[in-house]
């Protein structure tokens, strides 16, 4: 049974009696959530040793008979059983095919997997079998994230200012469980009573990856020519375990973005048009700094800076090269270029 849209929603709400269900998709948190939800629809207490069995793909490879044995076993204490297999892949497709081909067992066999493509044999098997179903767990899109946010906040009487919602929606959605945890944190932070509208400051204070924010600070400092500030943040990031290559790549991406906008301006667009065309959109708090950088950097200097960043990335990946020192030097060089560019603009 292949499920999507409304059929999926009603399936999850009231799962029919099937022999096996596959839960798969790129959103690991959502896979986990639905996997547990489906298991609980059969046995509310997942800790019940008599009604819940856990099998690993490795144990099934060693002893394929365990799948049928567990599925056919009846619970000592009565009630339907759940057999959970987590982390399956196409390697188990043949086993499940012969399992589904025979008379299906009493128990519900629940299988979880990562992101399976449309050509995956395991996914096709569950989609095509009348005894089984495949439940996809895609990443939440913007609309889904917004409804997730609203559903989490409304019961607590909380609402979001539009820019806070934008900020939040952009940072959630990669993993359903992680998103829920972030929202729980926000609810706890807002406390009972008092201010009931969440402002951007509140969201900024606790949601999101602080490393990511620091990285952006670093790149903006370097491109704005703040030599000392950029070295200070770089030191901290490296101490916290950021990888030089990752930082250099982020810097190169930023320079490319500046180059793109400059190029479009040279082709006749206004700065405003070129900025609006950027995808993903710039975070509005960064727009002014970005605008100043466009004004000061020339296309030629940007090309020179990009060259520096890319060469440094290559060098960092060469065995034996001191990656941290290279990264530090490159950030310094680019910050100095940025400083010269800013000075040029002032003159």
């Amino acid at each position: 049974m292949k499920l999507s849209g409304k059929a999926l929603a009603s399936f999850l709400e009231r799962p029919p009696k099937l022999a096996a269900i596959l839960v798969y998709g790129p959103d690991g948190g959502l896979v986990r959530e639905r996997f547990d939800q489906l298991a609980r629809s059969v046995c509310p207490d997942l800790g019940d040793p008599f009604r819940v069995a856990e099998l690993t793909p490795a144990s099934l490879k060693d002893d394929p008979a365990r799948l049928a044995d567990e599925a056919d076993a009846l619970a000592l204490t009565g009630g339907r059983r759940v057999v959970r297999v987590q982390g399956a892949g196409d390697g188990l497709a043949a086993l499940f095919q012969s399992f589904l081909a025979r008379k299906p067992g009493e128990a519900l066999v629940l299988v979880s997997a990562g992101d399976l493509g449309a050509r995956s044999s395991l996914r096709k098997l569950f989609e095509d079998s009348p005894e089984a179903a495949a439940v996809p767990c895609y990443l939440d899109d913007r609309q889904a994230v917004e409804s997730l946010i609203n559903a989490a906040l409304r019961p607590h009487g909380l609402s979001l200012e539009p820019d806070a919602l934008d900020y939040l929606a952009e940072r959630l959605g990669g993993d359903r469980l992680a998103s829920r945890a972030e929202l729980d944190k926000l609810v706890t932070y807002m406390g009972q009573g008092g201010v009931r509208t969440i402002r951007l400051d509140d969201v900024e204070a606790l949601i999101g990856d602080s490393a990511e924010r620091n990285q952006e600070d670093l790149i903006f400092a370097a491109a704005s020519g703040q030599t000392l500030e950029s070295q200070r943040i770089l030191d901290r990031l490296l101490r916290e375990g950021s990888e030089p290559v990752g930082l250099l790549r982020a810097l190169a991406r930023h320079l490319q973005k500046l180059h793109l906008v400059k190029g479009q301006m040279a082709a006749g667009q206004s700065a405003e048009q070129a900025l609006n065309a950027l995808r993903p959109k710039l975070f509005f708090k960064r727009t002014d700094a970005f605008r100043r950088q466009i004004e000061s950097w020339s296309l030629a200097k940007l090309a020179q800076a990009m060259e520096l960043a890319v060469t440094a990335e290559l060098d960092c990946k060469t065995t034996g090269m001191p990656a941290r020192a290279l990264c530090g030097r490159t950030f310094l060089q680019i910050a100095q270029l940025g400083k010269a560019a800013a000075a040029g603009r002032r003159r």
Partner: protein, 372 residues
């Protein structure tokens, strides 16, 4: 520290203590055995932080002292020394080296400071009693096959030992289950065990105790608290942490009124199950039992390899019944029956079946049927 000891005595004690030491350890001191020479002889002590064993063995101590040395290496050395030889263990000025001499062999072993060796024993044990070796053996042997090996169900990874009443008579009961079958064995409650808390003794501890009782016929002293249990044999004291969890309410699993009674010769039954299950393929281990007046027919089917049936004589007079079992679990239980005949009490094809020895009611096994 300096002492002379018989190789055989040292080897026997080392064999006991080194089996507690894990093969791979992230904490170096846990790979070592603590050697302590004193007036009582040589005390050997090993631990994995959950289980601690101390064994004292007679030795001619010339100079008391203590150190720790690699357990497996020491055991291998002593094992390979010629039978009947004497071993001299000497730690002179250098505290990081231990010298072992026997005949013309000489070994120097790297030591770790004895102060670093963790102490597990100790703590108050308010409940203490004596248990005959054969009773402890029966409690372990007849239940350990049912201990779960699934790590996520940690509270099933051991034998649940507790005081209970069976038909009004106080008993000490051992129970183990893995969710598919359950074994319950009881012995008369020893003096001092009244009011003891129900405790779960971990699988590894069970295995170590079983090795130790093999070599003794004397009563074993058992002492326990909520978190630890101690078994004292002649010269050997084993202290173990208990599993911190709640054992499921197993009583609800054991049916009391199964009225279809089947009695069959145990050995012939086990052999027949074994034969018939040879046909059940890689895909399932299910086997079907059909009981009718005076006979029991075993059958198995596999879409790949064919089918098998075997008929046995049995004492059965209730309404005919067909029921499926996992052949492996059924064999495990039949292997526990020591008498000639086994009695199966059945209800229907979807309810737990109770198995017990015809001549001995102290052990009860519960087996869940399978859909066939």
């Amino acid at each position: 520290m300096k002492l002379i000891i018989e190789r055989a005595a040292l080897l026997k004690s080392l064999a006991h203590v080194q089996s507690v030491v894990e093969k791979r350890n992230t904490i170096p001191i846990l790979s070592n055995v603590k050697l302590e020479a004193g007036s009582a002889g040589l005390a050997l002590n090993a631990t994995d932080m959950d289980l601690d064993i101390v064994e004292t063995v007679a030795a001619e101590v010339a100079r008391p002292g203590a150190t720790t040395a690699p357990a497996h290496t020491l055991y291998e050395i002593v094992r390979k020394l010629p039978e009947g030889s004497q071993v001299e263990i000497d730690q002179a000025g250098d505290e990081t080296l231990l010298t072992l001499r026997s005949g013309r062999s000489k070994f120097s072993l790297a030591c770790l400071p004895v102060a670093d060796f963790p102490l597990l024993s100790g703590g108050e044990m308010p409940h203490a009693f004596q248990l005959a070796a054969e009773e402890l053996r029966a409690l372990i042997d007849r239940t350990r096959f049912a201990i779960s090996t699934e790590e996520t169900r940690y509270y099933l990874n051991g034998i649940y030992l507790h005081a209970a009443k069976s038909d009004g008579i106080p008993v000490l009961r051992a129970v183990a289950t893995d969710g598919h079958r359950l074994a319950r064995v009881e012995v008369p409650l020893p003096e001092g065990a009244e009011g003891m808390p129900g405790v779960i003794v971990p699988r590894k501890t069970v295995a170590e105790i079983r090795k130790l009782i093999e070599e003794t016929d004397r009563p074993v002293s058992v002492a326990l608290s909520d978190s630890k249990i101690r078994f004292a044999f002649e010269g050997t004291v084993l202290t173990s942490k208990l599993i911190d969890g709640t054992f499921p309410d197993y009583e609800r699993v054991i049916p009391a009124d199964n009225d279809k009674i089947l009695e069959v010769d145990c050995k012939a039954f086990a052999a027949a199950v074994d034969r018939v299950s040879a046909i059940s393929s890689e895909k399932s281990r299910a086997i079907k039992l059909a009981a009718a007046k005076g006979t029991l027919v075993l059958s198995a089917q596999s879409p790949d390899s064919g089918s098998a049936t075997e008929e046995l004589e049995a004492s059965y007079s209730a309404a005919a019944i067909e029921i499926g079992f996992n052949s492996r679990y059924l064999l495990d239980i039949l292997a526990q029956i020591e008498g000639d005949a086994v009695r199966l009490a059945l209800a229907d094809a979807a309810s737990p079946t109770v198995a017990r020895e015809v001549s001995d009611g102290s052990a009860v096994y519960v087996l869940m049927p399978m859909r066939v």
